[in-house]
C-alpha cells in the first residue's frame, strides 16, 4: 500500500482536467508578477482582446531592475523606467494589487509575498521567476514559469503542466555551529550536480530541515532550481504556523484556527512513494563556497578545487566546460581558495535578503571594520526587512562597521540595475547564481552564505567564518 506524498496531495486538489497523454490543467491559487517577465503577457491579453480572469489572485511588485539608491527619484535609465511604468499601468487597468518602488510593501517578490501573508500552505503558486520555489518552504507547490505561462495564468488562472517526478531529500542530524541553511543547500547542490534534480519536484525532510527557521527553509527551497528541480517544498509544522501567526492579515482571519487545523494534514504519508530518495548528514556540512560558474561547483570554504575527474558532474568535465569555467574564474584545479583576495561582497537577494540573514551578517561583523579594499553591497530583501533591521539596530551596527544599507531590490544578484560587479573582480555573493556575467559582464561570483560573506568583508579574503572571532 502506498500513500500520497505532500506534493500529490496539493497537486491532486488543483487538477481541473487531466489531458489524455498530456499535461494536467492545474489551477493556480497565487500568481506573483514583476516588471521583467510580465509586459509581453499583458500585451498578449490585449492582442486577444481579453482581460485578467482573477485579478485578486495576482500580486505585483517592482524588484528586478530598480535602483537601490535614491528610490525617491524617478529611475534614471529610461528603458528600465518604462518597464516599471508599464507594470504599474498594466496593474491599474487589470485591477491588480501593485507594490511599486518606495511603497512600504515593496521588495523582492519572494520576500514580500510570504511576509505579507499572500503565501499560505497548500497553495499552488507561480511567478515568472525561477526562484518561485522559495514559497515551497510553506508547504506549497511553487515554481517558476515563462512569460507565455504568465499570460496563461492571467487569462485563465490555470496552467498546462506535466506532473514531475518526485524526490525526497532527507537531512539527518543537526547543522554545526557557524553553518547556515545556505551552506546546506550549496552542499546538496554540489553533491547532486547542477542538473541532478531536473524533472523532479523535491520534498526536503528530516531533523535538520525541521530545525530550520522559516527564513532558512526559504533559503533552501529557493535554490532548488539550481540543481534543476522544478521546485522544492517542506511540510508545514508549528514553525510555519507560528511564523504565519505573526502576520496580522493572516492571524486576524476568522478562519485562521480552522486553516491551521487543515494545514496539519499537509504531509507525506508514511510509505508514500518517491521516485528517488537521497539522504544527507547535516553534521558533515561545512561552510561552503563556489569556485566555478554553475552553482553545483561548490566546496568547503577551506577545500581544494577538484580536478575535472574528481568533479561531481561528469557532463561538465566531458565537454571541457569545467575547465572553461575555471578559466573564467581565474582558478585552476587543485587550488585552495582560503586567503584568496576578493573585491566585492553582496548580501541580499531572494536567497539571503531576509532579516535572519542581516542578523547573521551583522552579528559576525559587529565591532569589527570592513576591509578597506572591499566594496560591500548590503541590500535588504524588502522595505519591511529594512524597517526591522533599523528597529533592531542592525543598520546602525553595520554603519559603525563601515557598511551602508541600500534600499530593497534584486540588485547585484542579476545586475539589471547599476549594482554591477566590474569585469575580472571577485565577489563573494549570498545570491543564487554564479553564471558567467551574472553580476555584470566579466564579473567573477563566489556564492556563499551570510557568514562566509561577512568573514570575507572583514578580512578582504576568503575566510572560514569560524575563524572570525579570532581576528582583530
Amino acid at each position: 500500500m502506498s500513500g500520497k506524498t505532500l506534493f500529490d496531495r496539493i497537486w491532486d486538489a488543483h487538477v481541473v482536467r487531466s489531458v489524455t497523454g498530456g499535461p494536467d490543467v492545474l489551477y493556480i491559487d497565487r500568481h506573483y508578477i514583476h516588471e521583467v517577465t510580465s509586459p509581453q503577457a499583458f500585451s498578449g491579453l490585449r492582442e486577444r482582446g481579453i482581460s485578467v480572469l482573477r485579478p485578486g489572485r495576482t500580486i505585483a511588485t517592482a524588484d528586478h531592475n530598480i535602483p537601490t539608491l535614491n528610490q525617491h527619484l524617478p529611475i534614471a535609465d529610461p528603458v528600465s523606467r518604462n518597464q516599471v511604468e508599464t507594470l504599474e499601468e498594466n496593474c491599474r487597468t487589470g485591477g491588480i494589487k501593485y507594490f511599486g518602488m518606495g511603497d512600504p510593501g515593496n521588495g523582492i517578490v519572494h520576500v514580500t509575498g510570504p511576509e505579507q501573508g499572500y503565501t499560505l500552505p497548500g497553495m499552488t503558486i507561480v511567478c515568472g521567476d525561477s526562484h518561485t520555489s522559495t514559497h515551497g518552504a510553506f508547504g506549497t507547490i511553487a515554481f517558476g514559469i515563462g512569460t507565455s505561462e504568465v499570460e496563461m495564468v492571467l487569462a485563465t488562472q490555470c496552467l498546462l503542466q506535466s506532473r514531475p517526478k518526485q524526490m525526497r531529500i532527507t537531512v539527518k542530524g543537526k547543522l554545526r555551529e557557524g553553518v547556515t541553511s545556505k551552506d546546506l543547500i550549496l552542499y546538496i547542490i554540489a553533491s547532486l550536480g547542477t542538473g541532478g534534480a531536473t524533472g523532479y519536484f523535491v520534498e526536503y525532510a528530516g531533523e535538520a530541515v525541521r530545525r530550520l527557521s522559516m527564513e532558512s527553509r526559504m533559503t533552501v527551497c529557493n535554490m532548488s532550481i539550481e540543481m534543476g528541480a522544478r521546485g522544492g517544498l517542506i511540510a508545514p509544522d508549528e514553525v510555519t504556523f507560528n511564523w504565519l501567526a505573526q502576520i496580522p492579515s493572516v492571524s486576524e482571519n476568522r478562519e485562521f484556527a480552522r486553516l491551521v487545523h487543515e494545514w496539519h494534514s499537509l504531509r507525506s504519508d508514511r510509505g508514500a512513494h518517491f521516485d528517488r530518495e537521497v539522504t544527507f548528514d547535516a553534521s558533515e556540512v561545512p561552510p561552503m563556497i563556489t569556485y566555478g560558474t554553475s552553482p553545483g561547483m561548490g566546496m568547503a570554504v577551506d577545500g581544494t578545487i577538484p580536478t575535472p575527474e574528481e568533479s561531481a558532474s561528469s557532463a561538465q568535465s566531458a565537454s571541457g566546460s569545467y575547465l572553461k569555467s575555471l578559466d573564467y574564474m581565474g582558478f585552476k584545479p587543485g587550488m585552495r581558495l582560503l586567503g584568496h583576495p576578493i573585491d566585492y561582497v553582496f548580501l541580499g537577494s531572494c536567497t539571503n535578503g531576509r532579516i535572519e540573514d542581516l542578523r547573521l551578517f551583522t552579528e559576525a561583523v559587529a565591532g569589527k571594520k570592513k576591509a578597506a579594499g572591499v566594496t560591500a553591497l548590503i541590500v535588504p530583501g524588502s522595505q519591511q526587512v529594512a524597517r526591522q533591521a533599523e528597529r533592531e539596530g542592525l543598520t546602525e551596527t553595520l554603519r559603525l562597521a563601515g557598511f551602508e544599507m541600500r534600499q530593497p531590490g534584486c540588485s547585484s544578484c542579476l545586475a539589471m540595475n547599476e549594482d554591477k560587479i566590474p569585469a575580472g573582480k571577485y565577489a563573494v555573493s549570498t545570491s543564487n547564481r554564479n553564471f558567467e556575467g551574472r553580476q555584470g559582464p566579466g564579473a567573477r561570483t563566489l556564492l556563499a552564505g551570510p557568514l562566509v560573506a561577512a568573514a570575507a568583508a572583514i578580512t578582504g579574503r576568503i575566510t572560514d567564518p569560524r575563524e572570525l572571532n579570532w581576528l582583530q
Partner: protein
Amino acid sequence: MKREEFTILESTAVPLPLANIDTDQIIPARFLSATVREGFGEKLFRDWRFDGEGKPIPGFVLNRPEFRGEILITGSNFGCGSSREHAVWAITGHGFRAVVSDSFADIFMNNALNNGLLTVTVTPEFLAQLTELVAARPGTMLRIDLPEQVISVPGAGLSSGFPVNPFRKECLIRGLDNIDYLLSMKDEILAFEKSRQS
C-alpha cells in the same frame, strides 16, 4: 492565435557543445528591460559572440560563416537557470527552429514548446556522434521529422528517435496555441472554482 506549424525540418546545424548553458548566457539580464518580444535575436549569446566594444569574437561558432542553419546542437542541461522566456525569443529571433541536446532544463523546455521551438532530446552517445559529425563537416544536412519523432543525418546513415509529449506534439504540428486551449475550457475552470468554495 495560430502559430507556425512544425512538421519536418531539413537544415544545416550549428554545434555549441558546452554543458549547462544557462539562460544568462543565451540572453544576459541587462537586455531584459524591453517590453516586446522582438529584437532579442541580435543579442543571442551576446557576451560570447561580441567583445566589450561590440566587435565579433572570431572563434565563436555563430561568428563562423561555415556554420549556419536552423538547428542548434548543444550540451547537457541546456537552458538552466532563469525562467526568462527572452532566451527562447533570442534563439527563435536568430532563426533557430530546433535545439538538440541530451537534456534540457524544465522551464526552458516549456518556454520553447510554447513558442514553437522544438527541443529534441537524444542519448548522450547520439549527441556526441552528431556533434562530432557536424563540427567536422559544416554544412551537413540534418532532418528532423516531428510526426515520426526521428532526427537523422541522411548523408551519413545516422538516425535516432526522440520523445515528445503527445499533446505538445499535436500542438506543434497543428500550430495550436495553449492559451486558446485553456480559454476553450473556461466553463470547466469556473465550475472548478465553484466546487472548491462549497
